[in-house]
Amino acid sequence: MKLDNKIAIDANDIHYTQLNKLIRKAVAEKATDIVIKNVLGQRFIASGLRAEINIDIYGVPGGDLGMFMNGPICNIYGNCEHAPGNTMDYGKIIVHGSTGDASAHSMRGGEMYVRDRIGYRGGIHMKEYDQKKPTLVVGKSADDFLGEYMAGGLILLLGIGQEAPFYGRGIGSGIHGGRIVIRGEIEDKYLGLGVKRLDMDTSLLNEVQSRIKEYCNYFNLDATKLLDENYTVLGPASSRPFAGKYTWE
């Protein structure tokens, strides 16, 4: 059994490069848990980090938290700036608050749970391959262009305590892989180009249910009501959205 080795870092007044050096040092010292206090706008936290480790972050991290990250589980007790989980490979980001634009941008694997709201272009160009399937779960609302150019994975928008629309325009435009699942009915005018309404199949339903449970588990919410609801499933009209647009010279 691995012994707990908790390392605390005070981020007060230190630059992000310095902070990441301390994190890498803690990883080298075989930490199992890192607790970072007083985070105030430091960008790129845990960027490119390869480790099976738990990181608790208190405060407001700056942009690109967990960029290219591979492995860590980050719990953020606060809001995040733009693009947390950018091109993330594997691991988890659990945000006890809201996140900015381009959250989970180009995410390739791993999971991200946002308790409240995300900004524009959430989950844009998320993609899956082989065993890697990125998942973005959002509790309350998302702005325009959710899942645009999506090439794989799952986006789940719950709209907890929200009246529709708790989403913006252009949902899934250019989507060519993956699924966007949103609670309730959605009017056509919110859908982007190339999106198709699909039926919920059993395997997707199972996945959605287990994601909802996991979400509720992180944020101490009761899942029963959410599990009872109707969900709209959106997916690509084609895995080749541009096939009909061109002719050769």
Partner: protein, 503 residues
Amino acid sequence: MSLGSVPLRYKVDIDREQCMRCMRCVDNCSYGAFRNEEGKLIVNSRKCTACHRCISMCPRDAISLKDRPVDYRAHPLWTSEAREDIINQSRTGKIVLAGMGNAKDFPSIFDRLVLDACQVTNPSIDPLREPMELKTHIGKKPSRLEFEETVDGDIKVLNEIAPNLELQTPIMIGHMSYGAISLNAQRSIAQAVAKVGTFMGTGEGGLHESIYPYQDNTIVQVASGRFGVDINYLERGAAIEIKIGQGAKPGIGGHLPGEKVCSDISCTRMIPYGSDAISPAPHHDIYSIEDLAQLVRGLKEATEWKKPVFVKVAAVHNVAAIAAGIARSKADAVVIDGFRGGTGAAPKVFRDNVGIPIEAAIASVDKKLNEQGIRNEISIIASGGIRNSADIAKSIALGADAVYIGTAALIAMGCRVCGNCYRGLCPWGIATQREDLVDRLDIDSGAQQVANLINAWTYELSELMGAAGINSIESLRGNRERLRAYMLDEGMLNVLQVKPVGA
């Protein structure tokens, strides 16, 4: 079918006297222009793409090829191309795609520039006898150096020097992805650059395992699709390049059609088999110059500030101001891709009409960075239509640190610039994934030919420098005094900051 067919693009003729009916042309033509009917060689010229594979393989020189064998009524405005594009589009209602670089008859600025040589007053240098320094360092340079004398009398540099790439010659090979070109083509290039001590770009296609042995000579690309990008990929490359735009199609994204996404490509790019690989027009985490700076820092932070980061932009009207913005980020080099840059497929209207020539772009970027006192902050890499060592010497004299070549390296492996890369049937085994065709490209010979080309151009560069009395590439860089313009207008002279011939 009220439009009928358009005239033949090429006409293939067989000299029946010469032909020995060996049928090599039949076997070699992947476009199906030849067939063997009971020992008789039949030609279907409509299928010909002028790839010259048959011509180069015919043991008897029996094949001849004619471009546009059918005349239209001559008209300077309504060229046959203009007419045929309209016919195509009135049939299909679609955007016309085309291959290779800008095919319009714009005058070449390179061809209007001449280089200098020494006579009498300052002697030229014999590169055989004197050392010629062509070694080039790409990356940030400190604006000044600080020294300290150590106790034992040594001199220690106090500055922290940013990581630079060391090139033995200012010639690199630009980004052509596995997918756009075959693995054999990429491996040939990788072997060649490792041999001559320079670098190649991976393109936005990830890094295939078989390139790992050459990873210290590769520049990995991060484009808007983020294909194949993970921390291992970033750490393997000697440098990282953010691709914002490309000279052949500035302002738009790219996509690799699903039929080209075979299982090997799918795993290198990390996308599902058979799905389109779509790179959106912008990076959706970059909507401003500040966002770009953020990605530059993000890549550096992820790789612990050990890798130079380049930013590639297409040469467009405002390229100088854009490059100045890039220079103020933490980027180490700006790559400028001129409007003649090649590509597997681009909308023809973009390929032929959007962007500016590389010559003007280099000069204006170099000038702007000098004016702002930040030229040393960043290296300039020029690409897009570089055809020979003279183009390289002129690029450097206009202000580039190094160049990327693309099409030229493909020609060194057999490509004849037929412009049909997008069909995936390249008979030279370059722009194709069909196994029997890929096998035609022998990696070792391909590598040797590409290395030969770079070596030959490097020799020529040192000869040109020697003749001009210059013994280090650094003294040629931005040295416009060594250039004169032959019949360029005054506006152009101002942009290039070059004097006319005779002045």
